[in-house]
């Protein structure tokens, strides 16, 4: 075609793109560090499955259709990238072909066939997407002009390429190939036209043009395609379609193992952190670069908010707005953040020498307070940390660690948190439990049950971690007693810590009170390690999660098992026998910290299926997409004054399934759902029971 024009387009198009990207990368580099370059193999695997394989789009039953649509557009794009390179080459070399993909190899033919089909498929998908946005209007979608523009551009890309090739085919086949146009023609594989039916069809559509008209159409389509492509490329980083570029790296760089980035163990003893407000995220620059990349990558698809218990019950936390607002703030302060980071590099660690630099750095502080002005307090405190959002996010964005880090800033630095938490914090400080009941009453529930104390039986094989609810809450005490009955029936060698046990600190940590958490954790770990405890049974998923995933950061390493999994094993090993005599419709509510945080889905179900004569009935929202009870993330200790109540929303779902018994595996879920049933006047008809209670009732 025209090398000069092509060069001009490429220089301008790629030049502007490179500049934007450079700015975006500089901004990320101005944020806090985090190491995401280890375990490359695992990272590649994630990238292949989640990003390239579009697992969370295609994998969700509920959204399979639109998931497949997106996947096809994405895969189509992947295929067409190679085609684009060929087109750029065509700008310089007449009949340009890529090595290996030329007409001499079968690969070349396979590729043109694939490209041909994919262009057709993508075009159909684009039409469907338009239809979906304009007519179906799924509520989670944010209908913006940007979405239409991008869809339009994709359509133009497909059509222009098809018509370019169609016109080329017409010129070759019907007009004697006046420009000596190149086409695949290999004696073994035949002519190009045989392999590209969609293009041939496109050619037929425009067959009415004269030879010159056809040549003009071909040239026009070629340049429209190239210009649209470069425009598209430059448009991507400006809005939510940045994800086209950032998704793959974002998934590659996601945190590994534990469902999300673990809460950072803060060094509270260091005096300077208190003066410099460097605990938690108080300011924009305290986000780490991966959190920044998360913000770049959010596609505003709304899947997160659709599953979020707070959004569903009309609370102000709307995750995609949350992300969008933060991203806008990040962009608005980009220059300042970059300048600030430059200064931060010359800090020496010597307070006196640094005073001047810090003064200069302060100038670059954003005008608005990150929490309170950019993100409203009610928004920040609404989250139950249930992780439903993270589980569905197709690009693996982690909301919860960011929310908790911001809460840390609020609780530790500003003292701004829902005041109801005070009572619970005070209780923790004085008596090691959020109710504030005397610590010496912790083992009162065990009176007369002949439960051994670790102090008297330090060699016990298992420690039964009772937890605050299991110790102090009347209702949950029944669960503890049922569990003791089971353990005794199975002759398990276990003991409890009694008054030496304290709250694990879960709710303190998740409300950002790292100080209180560390206080609890230090004391507990000291006691646990003092007894050389190895194996722990916990009936509370929050305790389980904290003991198992948080305590190792502070030197507590234990094998922790949830009572449902333990009971499941007891049944499997024949250590206890149960009757299949649980009558009536039985359903199960997955606790977030058991399911999504610890991937324990099957054990409780196995146990329940062993008990129930008619088998377990699943709720509409179950397993990985279970709906939170509303108590996690310290919400148990805060009032729920905005919108409708989360526990009632969940209870309604249970009622609608005509359940007679709903099984749970968490003391908070137990309280919340039982309260929900009371609120709906259904507590007489629907029993809320912990798995342990059901098993104890049906021991053979």
């Amino acid at each position: 075609m025209s090398p000069l024009f092509m060069t001009l387009l490429l220089v301008v198009g790629l030049g502007i793109f490179a500049r934007t990207m450079y700015q975006r990368i500089l901004l990320l580099m101005a944020l806090e560090p985090t190491d995401r370059f280890n375990r490359i193999k695992d990272r590649l695997k994630n990238m292949v499955i989640i990003a390239l394989g579009q697992k969370r789009l295609v994998g969700r039953k509920k959204e399979r259709a639109s998931g497949i649509m997106h996947a096809l557009i994405f895969w189509g794009f992947c295929v067409l990238i190679i085609r684009s390179i060929t087109l750029y080459g065509e700008g310089y070399v007449h009949g340009f072909q890529l090595p290996l993909l030329g007409e001499s190899s079968v690969l070349g033919y396979l590729y043109i066939a694939l490209k041909d089909i994919m262009e057709g498929v993508v075009l159909i998908m684009v039409i469907w997407a338009f239809y979906r946005r304009l007519v179906v209007k799924p509520p989670r979608l944010h209908n913006t002009w940007e979405a239409y523009l991008v869809l339009g551009m994709i359509g133009v890309l497909m059509i222009s390429d098809l018509l370019y090739d169609g016109a080329r085919f017409n010129l070759i086949a019907s007009y004697g190939n006046p420009g000596d146009l190149h086409y695949f023609n290999n004696p073994t594989f035949g002519q190009e036209f045989l392999w590209t039916p969609v293009t041939v069809l496109a050619g037929n559509v425009i067959s009415g043009f004269s030879a010159t008209g056809m040549e003009r159409v071909m040239g026009l389509m070629f340049w429209i395609h190239i210009i649209t492509q470069l425009a598209f490329l430059n448009f991507l980083p400006l809005g939510k379609h940045f994800h086209v570029i950032t998704s793959l790296p974002n998934v590659f760089l996601k945190s590994l193992d534990y469902p999300h980035d673990k809460i950072k163990l803060l060094d509270l003893e260091d005096e300077s952190v208190w003066e410099d407000e460097t605990l938690g995220v108080n300011h924009l620059h305290q986000l780490n670069w991966k959190q920044g990349l998360d913000l770049y990558t959010c596609t505003e698809c709304g899947r997160c908010k659709e599953v979020c218990p707070t959004y569903v019950t009309d609370k102000p936390l709307n995750l995609h707005d949350f992300n969008d607002t933060l991203k806008a703030e990040l962009y608005a302060n980009a220059d300042n953040l970059i300048l600030r980071a430059k200064l931060a590099k010359i800090l020496t660690g010597d307070a006196e020498k640094d005073a001047k630099t810090k003064e200069k750095m302060a100038v670059f502080k954003p005008e608005k307070a990150l929490v309170g002005e950019v993100i409203a307090l009610d928004t920040l405190w609404a989250c139950t940390t249930c992780r439903a959002c993270e589980q569905v996010c197709p690009v693996t964005i982690e909301h919860v660690p960011r929310i908790i880090a911001m809460r840390q800033g609020q609780t530790l630095m500003q003292g701004e948190y829902p005041q109801e938490l005070n009572t619970a914090f005070k209780g923790l400080e004085r008596n090691g439990n959020p109710w504030g009941i005397g610590y010496d009453k912790r083992a009162d529930w065990a009176e007369g049950l002949d439960v051994k104390l670790m102090a008297d039986h330090p060699d016990a094989e298992y420690l039964l971690w009772v937890g605050c609810a299991g110790s102090f809450d009347d209702r949950t005490q029944k669960v503890t007693k049922a569990l003791v009955k089971i353990l005794k029936a199975a002759k398990v060698d276990f003991a409890i810590l009694g008054t030496e046990e304290k709250c694990t600190g879960d709710f303190a940590r998740r409300t950002g009170n790292e100080m209180m958490y560390q206080m609890m954790a230090t004391e507990n770990i000291e006691v646990l390690n003092g007894y050389n405890v190895k194996k722990i049974i916990a009936a509370c998923p929050h305790c389980l999660n904290t003991l198992k995933h948080d305590y190792p950061q502070m030197g507590g390493h234990y094998e922790v098992v949830h009572h449902s999994a333990f009971i499941n094993q007891l049944i499997a090993d024949g250590k206890i026998r149960v009757k299949k005599s649980l009558a009536g419709m039985l359903t199960y509510h997955d606790p977030c910290y058991l399911g999504r945080y610890n991937e324990i889905y099957d054990a409780p179900r196995n146990v329940l299926n062993t008990l129930s004569s008619q088998g377990l009935n699943e709720l509409p929202r179950h397993g990985t997409e279970s709906f939170c009870c509303g108590a996690g993330g310290g919400r148990m200790w805060m009032e729920e004054t905005i919108g409708s109540r989360i526990n009632v929303e969940r209870s309604k779902e249970i009622v609608a399934e005509n359940a007679e018994t709903v099984a749970v595996g968490c003391p908070f879920c137990l309280t919340m759902i039982e309260d929900g049933m009371k609120e709906l006047n259904k507590d007489e008809d629907i029993k809320t029971r912990d798995i342990a209670e059901l098993v104890a009732e049906h021991l053979a």
Binding site: L268, E271, W274, E275, T411, L412, M413, Q414, G415, Q419, N422, F425, K426, R430, N431, G436, I437, G438, Y439, D440, K441, T499, N513, M515
Partner: protein, 260 residues
């Protein structure tokens, strides 16, 4: 305005208190800041915030009170004095009031705010006696303080017949009830920063007095013996038709409990 507040460290009454041979067993006990004094501190800090009052805290006792004083610092108190004298372990209310009098006289205070009583002894005397010794006005059981001008405040107190509103001329002593405010839980940052603040610790001699001077050697009252409280028995639950249940309950109240 200069305010003096007092705090006492008391045994945590949430815990089971074990008594043996007429004395409290120290095992398993823990000590906390007296809840009403926390209200007093909060009230002082609020006046600091609204009227730029200068706040001083005094704690009396034998032994280390650093933890509770730090907490008050973190809540916003400006200065703290701790009178640490082993002799005070056995002191009664008038003695404490005398010590407070000495502290008061050493400063130049306009207002003393104390908790209406201490959670351990529930005596509720020290504040009132202090006013008596100083011969200044005293209002007890206060649930609201408003500053009128430099030398007057208006307070509401919970009286027997309802809320009483009083104009008070300063200097004065007021003792506060828990209805006055919800004490803040100091921000963690405040607690950490408070570590750096100095506490003015002195014994009775340091205060320019002696145990004898404050009446400690001639106590007006003495603790003779501690006795454990009786455990409350569990209640009874009645179920059935309202009419039947009512008849049964009335019968029990008349014949068994003999209260009707």
């Amino acid at each position: 305005m200069k305010i003096l507040t007092t705090v006492k460290k008391v045994v945590d009454v949430e815990l089971n208190i074990h008594v043996e041979n007429g004395a409290i067993l120290d095992k398993g006990l823990q000590y906390v800041i007296n809840a009403w004094d926390e209200n007093a501190v909060e009230a002082a800090v609020q006046l600091k915030e609204s009227h730029k009052a200068d706040t001083t805290l005094v704690s009396l006792g034998s032994g280390d009170n650093t933890d509770i004083i730090r907490k008050c610092y973190a809540m916003g108190i400006d200065n703290a004095i701790h009178i640490d004298d082993p002799a005070l372990a056995k002191a009664d209310s008038p003695t404490f009031a005398r010590v407070l009098q000495k502290v008061y006289e050493a400063g130049d205070y306009d207002l003393v705010i104390t908790g209406k009583q201490a959670q351990d002894t529930d005596a509720g005397q020290a504040g009132i006696m202090l006013a008596q010794f100083l011969n200044i006005p005293c209002v007890s059981n206060v649930i609201k303080i408003e500053v009128t001008d430099d030398s007057h405040i208006q307070v509401s107190r919970l009286g027997d017949a309802g809320t009483e509103i009083l104009d008070v001329t300063l200097p004065a002593v007021i003792t506060v009830s828990d209805g006055i405010n919800e004490p803040r839980l100091p921000a963690m940052r405040g607690i950490m920063m408070a570590k750096k603040k100095k506490i003015n610790v002195m014994d009775l001699a340091g205060l320019g007095t002696s145990f004898e001077d404050v009446g400690g050697t001639a106590p007006t009252s003495e603790i003779v013996e501690f006795m454990p409280t009786e455990k409350r028995k569990g209640g009874q639950k009645f179920e059935g038709e309202p009419a039947e249940v009512t008849a049964k309950v009335v019968d029990l109240l008349v014949n068994e409990a003999k209260v009707l």
